[in-house]
Amino acid sequence: MTTLPPCGTKKLGLVIDLDTCVGCHACVVSCKGWNTENYGAPLSDADPYGANPLGTFLNRVHSYEVQPESAPTQLIHFPKSCLHCDDAPCVTVCPTGASYKRVEDGIVLVNEDACIGCGLCAWACPYGAREMDAAAGVMKKCTLCVDRIYNENLPEIDRVPACVRTCPSGARHFGDLGDPTSAVSQLVADRGGFDLMPELGTKPVNKYLPPRLKDTLAKAPPKAMPTVNVDAGGFLGWLDRALDSLPGKGE
């Protein structure tokens, strides 16, 4: 058993906009690219050119169809990575203390030197956000790019997680969700951001923004436009009259 640290005030995390995510997987691959080169062991790919390629990814995009009552089916793209829970069951379950939550910013990490690859944390995580690397035998998870966000070798503007930096539609936001005045907290407040599976009591730091209401034009089509007055001279008659009121006419 590993204990969670006292809850700090700084809670770094992601806000993911499900209204804007087009499901392009840019975040998935840029995460893979950064993290296979950096924190800990590489994210290996077994059988990469074979019948059953199986690689480690810290972030994946799932797509779900949603069937509203009496409206067309919708498709929601749902990127998922570690939510850096305040009450992280993956940490408390760890027998070696390898899984830990940082006091200073709330990021949940795995100390690979102490990880014995038992897999208990992946079993405990209700979100399926951890993956065991088959080649390294250690547990891999989103680090919130802890080696980017404070990295003095990067320009300040780039000190954000790789997934946030690359997201083409701007659906991913990074910041301090412990600070109610931060841009991400404001976004959550404005857009009705929500916790994933709050009933589990994990208190995830990451938040999702819900899709906007869809298909309003189909549900209640705007009224048909009135026909122009064609009593005199038909459409061309109307056109002549309309043209007379143009600026520049007869100048």
Binding site: G55, I76, P168, K214, M225, G248
Partner: protein
């Protein structure tokens, strides 16, 4: 336990080299991080005009493309039969000598017997120059099987189109309607634009039978029936006219709505514009009521003008617009069933478009002056915008559908105005400022001019003296008069048939014609391997250049291995397919950020070498030596016109020339220092109304886009089309063959029309009730991504997606398989449910399916066992009509391959061992990939 020590500032890389992505045709700027001289990480370049720092899944996976085991290693000579995959590695000297031995005699006797077609080539201004110098008329790139309808309809209608030609005004638009966009075209800019619209709360409407990707995040989804977009658009045109919700001033000032057209059916000039002695179309000046040249200073043309001259009545185009589209034929009630959208919704959509365009009009306080000298105090805009791609263009009615979309935009006054669609330099450009096609062959000499261009009438067709097509693909013939990009999908079929003539050597670049880039894949494979009575191949010689072990490699006799995109020089040129933004002219380069570790050469450098060896004009000096050492040398020193070359930036001896200037030997270094791109901003007073804005026109001349101002009117009415239609009616010397007359009379309507896709008329639609489509996923580009170890874990196979009604009707459940059949063939494939789908449509991802043995994949890779191509169901010809003629499955105007006309039937079948059809396993010239990847492992 205390937290372990963690270095939060580790070194990122040894060096960043900035170049241009090539994981698709979007061409984003990338920062390539190197460690120990090897590529370690790729991210977007924040300064770059295209992607501004972001990067898609493909771009971020570039490292797996550069390290792919499928990379070809050395030139190859075929040693087994074609299609066996049996090759022998040879030296470059032998490879180049072989090519010269084949090509030199052809050039001296019959240059047309070389057919040189390039696929997803980004150097067409160079490859076309090479082909022109060689002297063959048979050159084109892949546009004919991609999106020529979109490009050509845009050029002919408004002088530009979408993607490389233009973009929505992302900053101001309030209503954005997206038609039929594959998820990978203009990949990152569209995603970035959608993000910005979402931030501002603008409405996004997706018109697409499939609700994935961009359509999934659209506020409203119009689940249109494939092939009916034109009807939907024209019904909205009907509504806007009926309600008088059109921009009259815009139409009068900037379009040919007021231009006078000969309205006398008995006249030989019927349907043509009335012109003055200088050839300028005439309009009636609303102030004086007299006819004047369209560009006369200060006039406001009259939209309803009529003029009788020499007993012949001429009426403004607007008369025809009103007459045509106010008829019941285009009323929402008439079209609703066919389109699959209720009349109430069509009327509502038109009303919403009009409301936003006119009630929410915007104004930018920027004065400007138009080409008639009229001063405008501000820039007013209609904040509605559109974007469309292959979904509407890859139909046999695609050209007219694209024209219809531009008609809609013009009536709303929404092009080149704040909030609407904006052109990107070098567009706008009138169609008649483009070259015309050239096809005059002289043995031993260059062709008489550029191959491709924009015809203005029958006189410009590429025909031989006997009236038969001059080109192997029959581009610019009566079968496809406005085929501005050629018809690559017909080359192998026509060469095999010897129709219109036989060729000797087929040279292809980056085009997987033996697999996903051909219709009727099995048939094409048979054509490539077919022999004549003497046992010789019907297509005698095939030269192919590719970087990877694609399916096409196996069918070539000589392989010239290309580099990957990080190992080469390229220019993304204003002469070609540029990367400009609406507010800036821009171009870019690639340079070898790493050196190849194999015996491969950039294909363009190989062409430079071959050009010198063959003594091609432009590739040799006066004393016969090589003019350029390689492609980089060409990029810097070639001049298309004096002072204008492939790259616009850093020209002149001091490197300060923008657009114009003498070649600068240090130019590539200047690009590299600048992040591998160059950009010149459009001045604020030139930002909108570009085709008519004197400030823009002058700026375009200054930076070398034009040599003189080229203001023009948008073409609601297409006079070139009318010239072809008139010929079909019997006017003029150059006459179409009898069997094409009726089709040309209908298709060449100078005003946008809709007609059913040809396949609907050629097959029994009761027997084949469904439409079948493909889409490209955002995370994979064509076949190139197939060997990418990371991307294939996202899209490793491609089920056939079925709507709920078909799923239920046939009793499908998860894991089931279906046989999908068309008039041409049948395939057996895995299915999956996709409820967010038009009820008469099935679809799958394009080009995921692979042939066993290709791409260095295991023979049991899911791409081969479960992946499949719809191509097997699509023929390059329509089913025979019993007239003995070969009717192309293409748009009759441009020849664009009608991929999306496909009609199919489905039935549930037991699961086979693997998707059907299967082909023999290809022998891999590169072996297979490793069993494990640990990218970034510290040694």
């Amino acid at each position: 336990m205390t937290a372990p020590f963690l270095d939060t500032s580790p070194p990122v890389s040894d060096e960043i080299r900035k170049t241009t992505c090539y994981m698709c045709a979007c061409r984003c700027g990338i920062d390539v991080h190197l460690k120990d001289g090897k590529v370690a990480y790729i991210e977007g370049n924040r300064d770059h005009p295209v992607n501004k720092g972001v990067l898609c899944a493909k771009g971020s996976a570039g490292i797996m493309q550069v390290n792919a085991p499928s990379r070809l290693r050395a030139p190859l000579k075929r040693v087994g039969p074609r299609g066996s995959g049996q090759f022998e590695e040879i030296s470059w000297d032998e490879a180049l000598q072989t090519a010269v031995d084949w090509l030199a005699p052809l050039r001296a006797t019959a240059p047309e017997k070389l057919a040189f077609f390039t696929g997803r080539d980004q150097s067409q201004s160079f490859t076309s120059l090479w082909a022109q110098s060689y002297g063959t008329p048979n050159y084109a790139a892949h546009g004919g099987f991609c999106s020529v309808n979109m490009a050509a309809a845009g050029i002919y209608s408004v002088g530009g189109s979408f993607w490389e030609f233009g973009q929505p005004d992302w900053d101001h638009t309030k209503f954005f309607m997206l038609f039929g966009v594959a998820e990978d075209h203009d990949s990152n800019p569209i995603k970035m634009g959608i993000g910005r619209l979402k931030e501002r709360g603008a409405r996004i409407v997706g018109v697409n039978p499939i609700r994935t990707g961009y359509n999934a995040v659209a506020d409203d989804w119009v689940e249109i029936t494939p092939g009916t977009d034109g009807l939907f658009i024209l019904a909205m045109v009907h509504e806007l006219l009926r309600a008088g919700q059109i921009d009259l001033e815009y139409l009068a000032r900037f379009t040919n709505a007021p231009v006078l057209v000969n309205a006398d059916p008995a006249s030989a000039e019927f349907g043509l514009f009335l012109r003055n002695d200088a050839g300028k179309p005439l309009v009636i000046d609303s102030a004086s009521g007299t006819p004047m040249a369209f560009d006369s200073p200060g006039i406001l043309p009259d939209l309803t003008g009529t003029l009788t001259r020499d007993g012949i009545t001429h009426r403004a185009v607007m008369h025809q617009i009103a007459t045509r589209y106010l008829t019941k034929e285009y009323a929402p009630d008439t079209v609703a069933d066919r389109v699959g959208i209720s009349a109430e919704r069509i009327r509502g959509m038109a009303a919403e478009l009009a409301r936003v365009a006119f009630d929410e009009a915007i104004e930018i306080p920027q004065p400007w002056t138009d080409f008639r000298g009229t001063h405008h105090a501000s820039m007013t805009g209609r904040p509605v915008s559109f974007h469309a791609m292959r979904g509407i263009s890859a139909h046999s009615n695609g050209f007219q559908t694209c024209r219809a979309l531009h008609l809609l935009q013009m009536l709303l006054g929404a092009i080149e105005r704040p909030g609407g669609m904006r052109f990107k330099p070098p567009y706008p450009k009138p169609f008649d400022a483009h070259p015309k096609p050239h096809c005059q062959v002289t043995p031993g000499k260059p062709l008489d001019g550029p191959h491709l261009g924009y015809v203005t009438g029958p006189a410009d067709l590429a025909l031989r003296p006997d009236g038969t097509p001059a080109r192997i693909d029959k581009a610019f013939s009566w079968e496809a008069p406005m085929s501005a990009h050629g018809l690559m999908h017909m080359v192998i079929s026509n060469a095999h048939a010897g129709d219109p003539y036989k060729i000797d050597t087929l040279m292809l670049y980056m085009a997987n014609m033996a697999w996903n880039s051909s219709m009727n894949t099995r048939g094409v494979i048979e054509m490539l391997t077919d022999t004549d009575e003497s046992g010789n191949y019907v297509i005698p010689r095939i030269i192919y250049s590719d970087a990877y072990s694609s399916e096409m490699v196996a069918y070539a006799d000589l392989i010239l291995p290309d580099t990957t995109y990080l190992e080469r020089h390229d220019c993304i040129s204003l002469l070609d397919r540029p990367i400009c933004e609406a507010d800036a002219a821009a171009d870019a380069i690639r340079w070898p950020v790493i050196e190849p570790d194999r015996d491969v050469r950039g294909f363009q450098s190989v062409l430079v070498d071959l050009g010198a060896r063959l003594g091609l004009p432009g590739f040799v000096t006066e004393d016969g030596g090589a003019k350029y050492t390689d492609y980089a040398d060409y990029i810097v020193n070639h001049e298309r016109r004096p002072g204008v070359g492939p790259l616009a930036g850093f020209r002149g001896e001091d490197g300060c020339g923008q657009g114009r200037g003498a070649p600068n030997p240090d130019q590539l270094n200047r690009y590299i220092e600048n992040g591998s791109f160059w950009m010149a901003h459009v001045p604020a007073e030139a930002a909108y109304f570009k085709p008519w804005n004197t400030a823009y026109q002058d700026w375009a001349v200054k930076i070398g886009l034009y040599d003189k101002p080229l203001p023009y009117l948008f073409n609601l009415y297409s006079e070139p089309m009318r010239r072809f239609q008139a010929a079909a009616e019997g006017h003029g010397d150059r006459q179409p063959p009898e069997h094409l007359r009726e089709r040309l009379k209908q298709a060449m309507d100078p005003l946008p029309i809709w007609y059913p896709p040809f396949e609907d008329g050629a097959v029994d639609t009761d027997a084949f009730p469904l439409h079948a489509l493909t889409q490209r996923p955002m995370a994979m580009y064509h076949s190139w991504g197939s060997q990418n170890a990371w991307l294939r874990q996202i899209h490793g196979h491609n089920p056939l997606y079925l709507p709920k009604n078909i799923w239920d009707d046939h009793g499908f459940s998860e894991g089931d398989w279906a046989q999908l059949s068309s008039a041409h063939g049948a395939i057996t494939v895995p299915v999956a449910l996709n409820a967010a789908l038009n009820p008469h449509t099935v679809w799958t991802w394009n080009a995921i399916g692979k042939r066993r043995g290709a791409w260095a994949l295991d023979k049991d890779a899911p791409e081969a066992t479960k992946g499949f191509l719809l191509n097997h169901l699509i023929h390059e010809l329509l089913p025979p009509k019993g007239d003995g003629l070969r009717w192309a499955n293409s748009d009759p105007i441009t020849g664009q391959a009608a991929w999306f006309d496909l009609r199919v039937a489905i039935k549930k079948v037991p699961a086979p061992d693997a998707a059907q059809p299967q082909f023999d396993t290809l022998a891999s010239p590169v072996g297979q990939g490793p069993q494990l990847l640990e990218q970034g492992k510290k040694s």
